[in-house]
Symmetry: C2
Subunit: 234 residues, 2 copies
């Protein structure tokens, strides 16, 4: 049982990068920035604005080089993940922070960045439903749960799953009551107007349309996984 | 039934402001930035970064003065809403855009800004559960539904309710199938680990703790509502 004391200030850091899906980051920020006696640092290589895959611009607080050791490292995904899989600065940052952090928390295809850092070897993990087949190349056992906790590694499904994951992380950090207070504050009582949020529940034609649009990216992610498995570049 | 053609490009604009809750904005951005043949503009008085109530910094794309007529105006809330209730630039912007927009879409206490602009008179509306009692001062009939559609006005509950609302807006703009494709893409199949997201489901001590922390702000919002009702300043 993790300590629920609020005595020690926690430092939570979230990686951002060009082409991230901002929701992978902002969903968890909503919950984790409310953890009592903590600070949240938004991190990237430089301090210039970072543009998400649909154009929203976020500002980092601190560079990767200047970041302190984090208690929690949030690793979002999104199309821009692809370009970072062999980026030694980013992958080393994830690996080094993971060595000292209490938790590494990936959302969506942020799991693949954790994979490139070697963090998925022998772990149960998940990612966006369209990229699940990529995980085994990084040594993970695939789970289709929305939030997967394997020791210090928390991985979640796609994009909006980061909110579910962040409440789990809040509970691990400060206990269930604190996480419930955050949930009530952010009114997280979801009522989707459709039941199309997963491949299992979406109408067949909806699934086909979304798969068709993401197939090329999925194929490239699979190819990168095969290259990694054949001999990691980092 | 709204048109589902994708022929005309839609312009969706989201207001941001100091002290907003970024999730009120970024949750809807996640869904609405994916509406086919549309563009999304992030709007504020100036082009400098805007800091959310927990420290995340977002960059506007366009000033209020230079914004084109929008098809959809997103109005988020958060503590910073309080300081804008008599801000003539902001309230006039909301009122003028509303006159030409297909939809005005408020999240959380963004509804109170819509109230200050006169948009709630005679309408069914909702807001964050802690601020529901404020709505009648602006002429609204209170609803406790998570997403309330009253003609061209869509209002939602607190913070994370914006995601549910945005899928509703996407369906109104482009039809149910498009909204379902967005839902699947963003993997919106929520599974909260606790059932504490509304006053009706949260444990009593959790509700008491969160209410205690927000009571002073709620009292000030009620006071502002009484002043508005006594004689609108705008």
């Amino acid at each position: 049982m993790p300590a629920t004391t609020t005595e020690r200030q926690l430092t939570i850091g979230g990686l951002i990068f060009p082409g991230l899906d901002q929701c992978d980051f902002t969903g968890p920020f909503t919950a984790l920035s409310r953890v009592p006696n903590s600070r949240f640092l938004t991190l990237w290589k430089e301090l210039e604005p970072v543009t998400d895959l649909n154009g929203l611009r976020l500002l980092p607080d601190t560079t990767l080089r200047e970041a302190p050791q984090l208690d929690v490292l949030l690793v979002p995904g999104g199309k821009g993940q692809e370009g970072l899989m062999t980026d030694e600065v980013v992958i080393s940052f994830i690996r080094q922070q993971a060595a000292g952090a209490s938790y590494v928390f990936s959302v969506c295809t942020g799991a693949l960045l954790c994979g490139a850092a070697g963090l998925l070897q022998g772990r149960r993990a998940t990612t966006h439903w369209a990229a699940l087949d990529v995980l085994p190349y990084y040594g993970a056992t695939v789970s289709t749960e929305r939030v997967v906790v394997d020791g210090s590694l928390i991985t979640t499904g796609g994009i909006t799953a980061g909110i579910d994951g962040a409440l789990q992380v809040a509970a691990l950090l400060r206990g269930d009551t604190v996480a419930q207070e955050i949930q009530l504050d952010i009114a997280y009582d979801p009522h989707p107007i459709f039941s199309a949020g997963s491949p299992a529940t979406a109408p067949a034609e909806v699934l086909r349309a979304v798969q068709a649009r993401t197939q090329a990216l999925t194929d490239r992610r699979l190819a990168a996984g095969r290259i990694y498995q054949a001999g990691p570049a980092v």
